[in-house]
Symmetry: none
Subunit: 221 residues, 4 copies
């Protein structure tokens, strides 16, 4: 259900079916990969183009040749992040799956991505989400589009009666996304790897459980 196309690494997959992946694309991908690694390590502002180029095995002139500016380079990363995310959510939204499955898919998407492309998730949590530097209206919009999509799912749940309507869908959206990001942030900032699929499942279940059924001890109800 989940589009995992984002999981593909930027750099040349060894067993690529296309025999000729032209050098241009290859370099571009190497630069993007390197950019993710360096930005993750140092943060967007401290990430120097020279470092990125060096890590990508090219000259820094080439970075400008391909991307024009540091801002553009970051935008390329950002856009890829958001587009993958939107695509994934939209693909799920079309299905007739119940709300909890749709939300589960989103949670899994993030955790899967954290395993395959931790740098990107790190950048999302830090420089994409919160940097005041980057707080252009355009960038805020990316977030709104994300929230809107989640909200639509939740509204869907409210319409079909599976989600309570006495709390605004927008608020529920913030709570859902906030919880998810809370987990990701901690893992990312403390550099914790996910220890096996069971832990991933446990966390995902915990998130969904609390979101749907709350933290209250049922025995006492």
């Amino acid at each position: 259900m989940i589009d995992k196309s984002i999981n593909k690494c930027y750099c040349i997959p060894m067993q690529s079916t296309e025999l000729v992946l032209d050098s241009k694309k290859r370099k571009e991908a190497a630069i993007l990969d390197a950019a993710c690694a360096v930005i993750r390590e140092k943060g967007l502002h401290q990430a120097r183009i020279v470092d990125i180029a060096r890590k990508a095995g090219t000259s820094y002139g080439l970075v400008y040749h391909y991307f024009g500016s540091k801002a553009n380079l970051f935008d390329a990363i950002s856009n890829e992040w958001w587009n993958s995310l939107y695509t994934m959510i939209d693909a799920g939204a079309k299905t007739a799956a119940p709300v909890n499955e749709k939300l589960a898919a989103i949670i899994n998407y993030f955790f899967d991505l954290y395993e395959t492309r931790p740098n990107l998730v790190h950048i999302f949590v830090t420089d994409i989400s919160r940097s005041t530097n980057n707080l252009t209206p355009e960038r805020l919009n990316c977030f709104k589009r994300f929230f809107d999509r989640i909200e639509r799912i939740i509204v869907g749940g409210q319409s079909e009666g599976t989600i309570r309507s006495d709390i605004r869908a927008r608020y529920l959206t913030y709570i859902f996304v906030g919880s998810l990001e809370g987990f990701l942030s901690t893992m990312v900032l403390e550099n914790q790897p996910i220890k096996g699929p069971e832990q991933k499942q446990r966390i995902a279940n915990g998130l969904l459980e609390v979101f749907f059924n709350g933290a209250r001890n049922v025995d006492r109800r």
Copy 2:
């Protein structure tokens, strides 16, 4: 229950009972206030010492006279944030109040602070929480101390049987803090003021409701 001492503004309270608030403290406070405003507006990295000084109505030399370096200045802000937070939580923790009240107090603390000192909350959401620049072990520790306190409250709830024990207290902590931060982030980044005490109450209730009882529509159960 909640220690609101942090709410006092750094700058000279107009109706100060102490007639003499020595000039030194006054300047220091003015600089801290200005720093919060500028850092909030531009982000830590883009905040120039000259701007802060100008906004504080002093020369930039004085900023160094008092704080020694930009990093120290930011640390002063950070420390004040964390210490106020710890103090508030600890004060609440001592009481015999039920878990939900303790958590409500924490939620209220954040939302009240957002009204009285929005700059500080903004900085928390952006530069204190997420900046990779600042990811020193010491700064991670501040976060851990915060989480540990929340976790202790939740463990308390698990012991007394009001909070379910089938989900790790640490996970519940991430969910609780994440939800709360989710709201704050949105308000902060979209520059939304809280429209009156009713809205604040509605949000706070929403957060607690979902955390304790979940988003599921009870009718359908």
Copy 3:
């Protein structure tokens, strides 16, 4: 006998046999030359990188491109000084020339250099020799290596019986180098040019004469 390779100017020799002296080396040399001039004029500390760049006809950014820092730039000058000096002494030391000729060669080296590259000699007398700023162990070592080489020559003289052994070779070294530096310092600080080869010869002879035979009037002995 004396290796005069150091006498070559950093900047492009007008009658260079190599048609292509790549621009990179040329700029680097121009910067070093300019650095010598500015440091000589203002002293290491007062020498501003901007001045050096301007005198070299480049931007100050390029100075950093090539040398990384002011300290590195100064080290480059220093190292060149010391290496040339060591090379010269070592070349002379290998020969079977008598001690007085070896010492004469060293004296001549300094005075020749003072004519061809007065800036460098000036810097040696002031910033290389005496600056407390620069008194790192590494820099002291450079001096020690210089003294060790002179001492070895003098010990050679003591062994072969031409130099008295009742005074420690180390002391004689200090006296020899001190006398030589005494002359250089005066010329350098008073900005005196050497007036023709006869004066140079007279000074060199005076130095050697007194070092070997003393200042006492022989008639009276």
Copy 4:
């Protein structure tokens, strides 16, 4: 024969005969002492007024109250150095002592001073002698006056026939002072203390011996 007044410490001698040494003088002396210590340690340029004041146990405002500026403070040290030196030489010059005794007195003056006030000698060797920063005509004049006095002594020796006249008195002056400074520099820069009066005597003798009789092995003559 040698005026050792310079040896007195700036700060209050415990057994002062004047019972009341007014606080003003005391502070001034403390500042001068501290200045010597700090300048010796860091070099003139790196010596901060704050450091000097702190070491002197006063506020930096007071340094300005007494000395007006950093340059003045350094001049006070410089002047004291030169005046003591001139006084000492002039006192010796008036006597009918033979040249070698006069020069011996000068050598002893320096080495004695190195024991009692090493900081001052250090500053002489580094910042007074060689700093290009300080190369004002006035400061060069101080040196000239020193050299002139030595030259006069040597000319005296040439007149009375004890010193050879085939080498210019000025050159002999450079050689004498250079040798002496060569020793001092080494001791100062390597932070070597003089190990007892015998070593001091040995060095002084060596200097005079070589200056008068040369380094040549007499057996071979």
